[in-house]
């Protein structure tokens, strides 16, 4: 019943244009796909055996002015990890949601929206989840400087170095 990786990858490659699976190490592969095809691509992979979605993550490639969304899938039958990567522009980051395929994606997408500002089209609930009263740019973006933020928002505390107990034998 369970197909080997080559069979799955060949079948998927024949359905989509310009898709090439790259081997990273044993049982770890990566593939890039265009944003408009990502939903049908993931749906196909899920049907072919990559049924477990481990996580969705985002990388801020600030010099290339792009966000990279990575869907990490796992195949329980062959023990293979597959990273599906897609890119979106940094100015107007919009990616379609994959909630229809994996319902848990709702929260991963909400997380990425909060920390990177990527909008997931079709996800009804992108309210902030973890941060409270956040008014800066999304904090995981590379142009957010946490040091500057903490300097602006929190006062420097003056510490008095006073470790020695007064009147003890340490006093000369």
């Amino acid at each position: 019943m369970s197909s080997t990786n080559e069979v799955i990858f060949n079948e998927v490659s024949s359905l989509f244009e310009k898709v090439s699976f790259e081997k990273i190490s044993d049982r770890k592969y990566a593939v890039s796909i265009e944003k408009r095809q990502v939903v049908s691509f993931l749906e196909t992979l899920k049907r072919k055996g990559f049924s477990h979605m481990s996580l969705i993550t985002c990388i801020d490639w600030i010099e290339e002015k792009e966000f990279e969304i990575v869907y990490t899938l796992f195949n329980w039958n062959t023990g293979t990890t597959l990273m599906v990567k897609t890119r979106t522009s940094r100015e107007k980051p919009v990616v379609p949601t994959i909630m229809e395929i994996w319902p848990t994606a709702k929260f991963y997408e909400r997380d990425i929206h909060e920390f990177f500002g990527v909008k997931f089209e079709g996800n009804p609930d992108l309210k902030p989840l973890i941060l409270e009263s956040w008014e800066e740019i999304p904090p995981m973006r590379k142009d957010f400087d946490p040091e500057k933020y903490s300097k602006e928002h929190f006062p420097d505390r003056a510490y008095e170095v006073d470790f020695l107990v007064k009147g003890s034998e340490n006093d000369e």
Partner: protein, 369 residues
């Protein structure tokens, strides 16, 4: 006519697992709507990791997960080893397995105590915590630290096992094994626990797969899916162990599996001690010059292990620099903690919510990070 009342479980609540809050809307005693409100524990680990060198992060990563910190070190080391192509010495693999399995026993014991506490059976936490302490003693002898070991490093382990530690480990294993019957009598055969957990929080196989639940949550639905077997790391393909499964998919099944996995971990450690090479290096020198200026070749990789709560992974991206470009922590309880609380918790009675979270292995630092 019933009235809906809003209740808060946590962030400070004896039945709450870590600093998170569950907002419950209840009618009578039954939860009709619930959602998780995380954020109380957010420490920005992922951002912090981007601002430190690869080696400095070693002191930071174990602190993400309190009950089982070693898995963090392991996935971090695994990811770096994949990117750099470092071959770990044979002996280090076996030492890593001993550490990971000891940590699994400690985490399972603590979880069993937590479930005992949530049902009002306080004997259980009083029993397991001292027993877990014996494992921490072993950790102290091996690594110098009790909770956060910083022992598994990229390229192996920090130092070799101390002389004669095998005897100490076997003694602790024998002791825990001798306690097994008592645990079983107190927990698995206890009438209160059986009544409270049987039929609680049933997840069918389809639901578990759909949600992405891993670990005992998935294995309680009859699937023998364990990353140690499916995608073996270290030397898990060389040792013999079974993956216990159940078919009921309820709280009691998940809980029983924890107890059974404890036995398997003991079995694995015994084999490790037998099969481990007695001589040889335990780490490789991965950089010329200062370890702090160590660079990882550009690339991205996802490394994962089977933790006591399920799949635990790091997504690591390097741009070839001295610091990680991006690290994403995949907590084992992320699916059940957020999606599960919102969709599967309603229908439970208020007094069972803490128990539901306990048997689902909810752990808030994995969500807040």
């Amino acid at each position: 006519m019933s009235k809906e009342v809003k209740l808060f479980l946590g962030p400070n609540h004896p039945g709450m697992h870590g600093n998170s809050s569950v907002h419950l809307y209840v009618e009578g005693d039954t939860v009709v709507k619930s959602r998780l409100v995380p954020g109380f524990l957010h420490r920005g680990f992922e951002k912090l990791m981007e601002r430190r060198t690869w080696m400095q992060n070693l002191a930071l990563i174990p602190r993400i997960c309190v009950p089982e910190p070693d898995i963090n070190e392991m996935v971090y080391a695994m990811a770096i080893e994949t990117l750099t192509g470092i071959e770990v010495p044979e002996k280090a693999h076996w030492i890593r397995m001993i550490i990971l399995e000891l940590a699994r026993i400690a985490a399972h014991l603590m979880a069993m105590g937590g479930i005992g506490g949530a049902t009002g059976l306080y004997t259980m936490p009083y029993w397991v915590m001292p027993d877990r302490d014996r494992i921490l003693d072993i950790f102290e002898k091996i690594t110098g630290a009790r909770i956060y070991h910083m022992y598994i490093i990229p390229g192996g382990v920090r130092k070799d096992l101390p002389q004669g530690i095998e005897k100490d480990i076997l003694e602790v294993l024998d002791y825990i094994e001798s306690r097994s019957d008592e645990y079983e009598n107190l927990l698995l055969k206890h009438r209160v626990i059986r009544t409270r957990t049987k039929g609680l929080g049933v997840l069918t196989r389809e639901e578990a797969l759909e949600m992405g639940v891993t670990g005992v949550g998935l294995r309680a639905t009859g699937l023998p899916y364990d990353i140690r077997k499916v995608d073996p790391y270290a030397r898990y393909d060389k040792v013999e162990f079974e993956v216990p499964t159940a078919t009921e998919g309820d709280g009691y099944a998940r809980f029983t599996l924890k107890y059974l996995e404890l036995q398997q971990s003991i079995r694995i450690i015994r084999q490790c001690i037998d099969m481990m090479p007695k001589e040889g290096p335990v780490n490789v020198r991965f950089s010329r010059g200062s370890a702090l200026r160590f660079r990882v070749p550009a690339g991205s990789v996802y490394a994962h292990v089977e933790s006591s709560r399920g799949e635990y992974g790091y997504f690591v991206v390097s741009d070839g620099g001295e610091k990680p470009y991006r690290i994403h922590v995949r907590g084992a309880s992320y699916p059940q903690g957020l999606y599960g609380v919102e969709n599967k918790l309603p229908g439970t009675r208020i007094e069972d919510v803490a128990l539901w979270l306990g048997t689902m292995d909810f752990c808030s630092p994995e969500i807040d990070r």
